[in-house]
Symmetry: C2
Subunit: 188 residues, 2 copies
């Protein structure tokens, strides 16, 4: 293995393990040494790759922003379909690509307080609520989505998703809900 490959592999290793621990245990509750131990590497090596815990966190958020901006936009004709497909895609990823799920939670958490402004702003740059409110407005026009402030509806929808995903990471033994149950928050 070339050094370049090795380097990239380590970086990925560290990021994905950090992602996992940050979303399950919490950022502050996760010690650098927890990550190092989980990967069976020294603490020093971690600092060789990331200059600080905060930078590592920031790198994760950057990765999340990049992943979100990828133009794999969801195909849909009816507004409700958009939300349904989104949830199904997300829940399907829960098993084989846990990082998709974890990243979603990380991004939501990064928008909260207690996070350095610079990082929070990054995370806020890909906020779903306003975008979804637009789709909801369309759905209200064609009668598929219930009446009410589109932003409030969007808020309710995304917070529900968020709550479900956070909990699922911690207690994966509970079955995930059907996508339909959640979209019924919006359905007329």
């Amino acid at each position: 293995m070339t050094r370049k490959e090795q380097k990239e592999m380590r970086q990925k290793q560290i990021m994905f393990k950090a992602l996992e621990l940050f979303v399950t245990k919490g950022y502050s509750e996760t010690k650098i040494s927890d990550i190092a131990e989980a990967l069976d590497i020294s603490v020093g090596l971690l600092f060789h790759y990331y200059e600080s815990k905060e930078k590592l966190y920031e790198a994760l958020v950057q990765m999340g922003v990049a992943a979100t901006k990828k133009p794999e936009s969801i195909e849909y004709t009816k507004p409700l379909e958009y939300f349904e497909k989104f949830i199904e895609g997300l829940f399907a990823a829960a098993e084989d690509q846990p990082w998709v799920f974890q990243m979603f939670v990380l991004m939501s958490q990064a928008r909260r307080s207690g996070i350095p402004d610079e990082i929070r702003d990054l995370a806020l740059s890909v906020d779903q609520i306003d975008f979804s409110a637009e789709i909801i407005r369309k759905g209200q026009l064609d009668g598929s989505i219930r009446e009410g402030d589109p932003k409030a509806l969007s808020f309710a929808f995304w917070c529900s998703i968020q709550g479900i995903m956070e909990q699922h990471l911690i207690t994966p033994e509970y079955p995930l809900p059907k996508a339909e149950w959640i979209t019924d928050i919006l359905r007329k």
Copy 2:
């Protein structure tokens, strides 16, 4: 003011401020000195009242357990009513008694990992999911609640509530959803 009164007042002051900060900033992100500064008291005084940060946290969870167990059980005839009334009560409290709201979030967070077992077990002792699953089962029998694993439905419902409340504490400017939108997760 007698000393006894003074003592009780301080204890309450400390607890409610800690509750507020713990749920908005997070437990680890809240420094003891943050609490002291917010109350304009010395750090030493805080330790005069609570022997450690963790004990303070535990005292809060104890308070939450006690509050939950109070037999102010919700009156209802139809199962869905139970959930609707619960949400309405909770959301109504958001303005005038923020601590009700905050306490609910604290209890949910205390059930997660990263929390000392002893405290988590306390919080788990008043877990809603199993209790609600029973009510959901009844609702399925009388046809008011949709088909599906009652536990999964209960999980979806409570996680949604949790997600909404957590976010509301951090961005109170977003309007809270109508109770009906959320109960439609369960409605047939």
